[in-house]
């Protein structure tokens, strides 16, 4: 059964609970460092975070153990589902990187254009209209009307913004 799915729900439960336990432990350690006692005037800086960390650790430990003892092997996500999620996630991450590199407007055009062509399989002219139109509309709204500066790249520099 397990071979049919990239990851089982049980596995995912274990991973998530494990990550949460780590977060809980880290929170507890850092809170202890800055003082987690009930001081002269009430709780210190780390008092609440310490117990928050403890609760995260404790409750995810229960989830972890109960997942350990389940036998069910229902898939967390099937291969096709995972493929579809990655179809969105990978371009979105690349988009995030492009925003940093060449500014949000050009990156948006590339991202929308790619997605419409690759996933939506739209004709190139429709993809072109949408992928240029949306960034231009955003540009007018944010940079010109509301004067909210968004990340810009070489193209905008060339145009004098």
């Amino acid at each position: 059964m397990e071979r049919d799915a990239p990851v089982t729900t049980r596995m995912m439960e274990l991973i998530t609970a494990g990550v949460l336990m780590t977060i809980g432990a880290v929170v507890m350690i850092d809170s202890w460092r800055i003082g987690a006692q009930w001081g002269e005037f009430g709780p210190q800086s780390g008092y609440f975070p310490f117990y928050i960390g403890l609760l995260i650790f404790g409750s995810s430990l229960v989830v972890f153990v109960s997942a350990l003892f389940t036998k069910a092997t229902t898939p967390f996500v099937g291969w096709t589902g995972l493929g579809r999620v990655l179809q969105m996630l990978v371009p979105a991450v690349v988009f995030g990187f492009l925003v940093w590199l060449i500014g949000i407007y050009v990156a948006s055009a590339v991202f929308i254009g790619y997605f419409m062509r690759r996933v939506g399989r739209y004709a190139w002219h429709l993809a072109a209209i949408v992928s240029v139109g949306v960034p231009v509309a955003l540009f007018v709204l944010f940079e010109i009307w509301f004067l909210v500066p968004l990340p810009k790249g070489p193209l905008e520099d060339m145009l004098g913004y």
């Binding site: 005037f41 940079e143 004067l147 909210v148 500066p149 004098g160 913004y161």
Partner: protein, 336 residues
């Protein structure tokens, strides 16, 4: 091909820069070419924010600049967010920042790496006063009466203030050291909230800036006891009954030798040229000349000292040392 193009472009840019260097030297004029970001290292509605938005309004109303000016609040980490942002914008002359005392207190108290030396000083716009306030329904008419009451029951009287290990708490500790009284200092998020907490009698006194408490004073809810400055505020108009800002005694007059003023100054990103600084100095001189600014200064009882260049730099340096001493005495310096 591509790299050749790049080299060409770089050469062009270099030539342009050189040309710019030569011409600017002759004309001595720089002008912003895009929107100027005006950073406020504090939340909306506070003293620095009010002043920045006032300036934005004046600049646009009187058309003092071709490019727009937008106010952006970056209050996170006790203002560190805003200062780190400007520090990281080297050679971007389109970014300026208005300061409050957290320019000194935040790096000293937290060890976050920035100082005014990382920025380019532009001008001192004004100095903000601090006043000792109590609720008008309490019997205390002078600071001495109030301090004597506090001394009788150490720790019972609550002093409300903005933030922790910042100006309000520094003054509170200075007050404690000068008199031997013991307050319980309660930090809040903003000055407006502090004044209202005093009206609601949740705290017993505050050291609010004039602008934060003037409305409640006019309404007869709060009573000023003394100003933490070396001389009285030079404003004679009556605010509440027969009292005006100038009628509030200085704390020194009543025997409390504490004075503290807060810088409301402008800095810009590092690496700015003299022309760029001069442009902003000119801009703020124009702002200061408007009636709206004068009215704003009077309402908030600001000390309207204006300083630029070396005078300003020296003042800031002296003020930084003062803060280091004050915070050291109070035990507020970061451990690391």
């Amino acid at each position: 091909m591509r790299s050749a193009k790049q080299i060409f472009a770089m050469g062009g840019a270099l030539a342009a820069a050189l040309a710019l260097f030569v011409t600017t030297d002759a004309v001595a004029q720089w002008k912003p070419t895009r929107t100027i970001e005006f950073i406020v290292p504090a939340g909306t509605g506070g003293g620095a924010d009010q002043m920045a938005r006032m300036i934005q309004g004046i600049v646009q109303k009187h058309n003092l600049m071709d490019q727009p000016l937008v106010v952006i609040n970056k209050s996170g980490g006790a203002g560190a967010e805003g200062f780190l942002d400007v520090k990281g914008s080297r050679n971007n002359p389109h970014k300026i920042i208005i300061t409050l005392s957290n320019l000194f207190t935040t790096p000293l108290a937290t060890g976050v790496p920035f100082s005014w030396r990382d920025l380019t000083p532009v001008a001192m716009l004004a100095l903000d006063e601090f006043v000792l306030w109590v609720n008008a329904e309490t019997p205390y008419k002078t600071p001495t009466e109030y301090i004597n009451a506090v001394k009788k029951e150490p720790g019972k009287y609550k002093m409300g203030g903005t933030g922790s290990k910042q100006e309000d708490q520094i003054i509170t500790v200075a007050l404690e050291r000068a008199t031997g009284a013991k307050f319980t200092y309660v930090p809040y998020r903003g000055g407006g909230e502090v004044a209202v907490q005093l009206v609601g009698k949740h705290v017993d006194s505050t050291v609010n800036n004039p602008i934060e408490a003037v409305a409640q004073w006019r309404a007869g809810q709060l009573r000023p006891l003394c100003v933490f400055d070396t001389k009285r505020i030079a404003l004679t108009d009556k605010i509440a009954g027969n009292m005006g800002w100038g009628d509030i005694p200085t704390c020194a007059e009543t025997g409390l030798k504490i004075d503290y003023v807060m810088l409301r100054g402008i800095f810009m990103s590092p690496g700015a040229t003299k022309d760029q600084v001069d442009f902003y100095v000119g801009l703020f001189q124009k702002v200061r000349a408007t009636d709206e600014w004068k009215k704003f200064m009077a309402e908030g009882a600001f000390n309207t000292t204006f300083m630029t260049g070396d005078d300003y730099r020296k003042w800031v340096e002296a003020n930084e040392n003062l803060h280091r001493d004050l915070m050291k005495e109070a035990g507020f310096l970061a451990a690391n």
